[in-house]
Amino acid sequence: MTAESNDLVISRLVRAPRAAVWRAWTDPVLLKEWWCPKPWATEVRAFDLRPGGDFHTFMSGPDGGTSDNPGCFLEVVPQSRIAFTSLLTGGWRPATPWMAFSAVVTMADEGEGTRYVATVMHPDLATRDRHEELGFFDGWNTCIDQLESFAAGLGR
């Protein structure tokens, strides 16, 4: 990977078989339970699970803030792999998202459970300033603030 400085790799050992992980991911009724943190709510506007199919989430917060995220599935391998992007919408139609990214999630057997790895790739940091403006991350700032407090020695 060339732009790895803008990549995130998140890995978890899930104590459930792949079928359960796959179900949590691919049933839109279940996906909206975990896609964004409460009190934000996720509306799954499209979930056409096939390459080129629409994947569109719309999130709304308690203070009236919203985040509209149309996208497109790129690759779907049952119980194994899902790739999707914000740079296209259904039918491979090019999009100009407010945040450009592609993500690949993989699921593999590991012991009694499942190794789940999400790789989220961002093209560059040019879009980040627009991102900052939205204030969508207010709910998550606590985590970063804690990190900085730890790092600065000002923590609890």
Binding site: E4, S5, N6, L8, I10, R12, V14, R15, A16, P17, A19, A20, V21, R23, A24, W25, L30, E33, W34, W35, C36, P37, T114, Y116, A118, V120, H122, L125, R128, H131, E132, F137, W140, N141, C143, I144, L147, E148, F150, A151, A152, G153, L154, G155, R156
Partner: protein
């Protein structure tokens, strides 16, 4: 930029462990000797030193030796704007992944037969 991200990953890794977070918390109150830091933990000193070296590699902690006493000190570290942005993205995806994993584990517990 790549170095910045690698450095940030080291910080996240360092803080992902309860022993190391506890060390950082203690050092938040001021510098301390290795032996004083290690005392509350029921682990052998070499294991404790491994935790300490992870913290030192991340840049969060610096240590210096005077005579026979090694003293550790927290290093103030302010994230750059780029680091903050990536840290936020990471926070989003880490938390999202935790929620997904918790739901999958609940599904499995509720009905272990159907998901094989």
């Amino acid at each position: 930029m790549a170095n910045q991200q690698a450095a940030l990953d080291d910080v996240f890794y360092a803080l992902a462990d309860p022993t190391r977070r506890s060390i950082v918390n203690t050092l938040g109150q001021g510098p301390a000797s290795v032996s004083a830091l290690a005392a509350p933990f029921p682990m052998a000193l070499p294991s404790f030193m491994k935790h300490l070296s992870v913290l030192e590699r991340s840049g969060l902690v610096r240590s210096s030796k005077q005579g026979r006493v090694r003293t550790c000190e927290l290093q103030p570290r302010v994230l750059t704007q780029a680091e903050r942005w990536m840290a936020r993205q990471r926070a989003v995806w880490e938390a999202r992944t935790d929620r997904m994993a918790a739901l999958a584990e609940r599904l499995h517990q509720e009905d272990p037969r159907h998901d094989r």
